[in-house]
Symmetry: C2
Subunit: 211 residues, 2 copies
DNA sequence: GTCTATAACTTGATAGAC
DNA sequence: GTCTATCAAGTTATAGAC
């Protein structure tokens, strides 16, 4: 069945090229912003002719939208650690670890998200209003329950979540500033561990689950 | 002396127009990013013909640079609260208050700075390496002294500073996200107070200066 | 100092050969 | 499916009248 075989081959080729383009686009959008990024530069980074980008993604905005959606999915998965925990020390501690790891492994994605939100979320406002809102309210309810059970200090759950996002994503979004203040060198393995430990220590002590 | 008088008048006019342009530019750069902002839009917001912008600021980049420098100065002034304090509870508490107030009053400036740093600080890298580095090391030394005097928990001073920046600036940079999660309404006066209190409670308890 | 008109350039997107 | 050549639109910046 040559046709089926060729179809599969085409699908694979398509997936490979799409992944290649998405990876290049994430990098370029992160470094230049949506307005500053050019399809030509994304094509160069991906190693493809510019016209091919338009073959896979009809417009610059459709490509950008896919990049933002991918990041959002990665963050949602980090929430699993939150849900499966038996208590605040384990749940929030693991969530910080997971978010810090994402900041280290996907700094470009975090920056694209930050840029999108800073510009009033022109492309993903619907996600903020639906998926993110539900996620946030759900996790705030878990925190509230822990508080009522006397397992952590009575803090405002929403502001705690904002602090978790702000602190962990700062290591991706402001990574260049941190790197500069670190003498121009990226954080080493040991320094990343120190960062994780510092964030967890202050926050977990701040919500009264460690002494 | 008509010439002197006219010169003063010109100076005043110049200062007024420059301030007008800078204010409009801050807003537009914050909402669209450097690449997405256009001189035409800045001119429209300022209520001036586009050519006048080029009369006061020769290039788009020179205008942008001035906007970023202004923000940096505002933040440096917030450091005074840090220095004049007698101990960590007062110093860090007042610093959080000051930074939160700036996030509320100058959200556009904070966003421009965030965007600049995220894009690897192409315009103000020299400030990061000199002024900001010196400021950071100086404040880290103060924190270190407080720790050695047993007045606060032994946390990494740099990571504490990063947390202070991240948490306070989050309310400006991600203000749109917070507003959306708040049901689409900006934080009220009471909610801003709640935010300040939440941040201070968790961090001050986290560094062991309140119970 | 101000403003209109335009030059010089870059960009996103597409047509059409292969 | 791929790629070269090119268009149409929009941008920064400036020339030159007032």
């Amino acid at each position: 069945m040559p046709q089926t075989s060729r179809t599969n081959s085409k699908k694979e080729r398509r997936q490979e090229n799409e992944a290649l383009i998405l990876s290049a686009a994430e990098k370029v959008f992160a470094e230049a912003g949506f307005g500053g990024a050019t399809m030509q530069l994304i094509a160069d980074v991906a190693g493809l002719p510019k016209a091919n980008l338009h073959y896979y993604f009809p417009t610059k905005e459709s490509l950008y939208r896919q990049v933002v959606q991918n990041i959002f999915q990665i963050w949602l998965q980090a929430a699993d650690t939150f849900d499966q925990a038996e208590g605040p020390a384990e749940g929030i501690g693991a969530y910080i670890d997971a978010k810090m790891e994402i900041s280290r492994r996907h700094p470009a994605g975090s920056k694209v998200w930050a840029s999108e939100v800073m510009h009033r979320a022109p492309v993903i406002q619907d996600y903020l209003e639906t998926t993110l809102m539900e996620w946030t309210d759900g996790r705030a309810a878990i925190v509230q329950r822990w508080i009522e059970e006397g397992r952590m200090a009575p803090v405002n759950p929403h502001h705690l979540l904002y602090m978790l996002w702000a602190t962990t994503q700062h290591y991706a979004d402001f990574g260049h500033q941190i790197e500069t203040l670190n003498g121009g060198a990226p954080l080493s393995d040991a320094q990343w561990e120190e960062a994780k430990k510092s964030v967890k220590d202050i926050i977990l002590r701040g919500i009264g689950v460690i002494k």
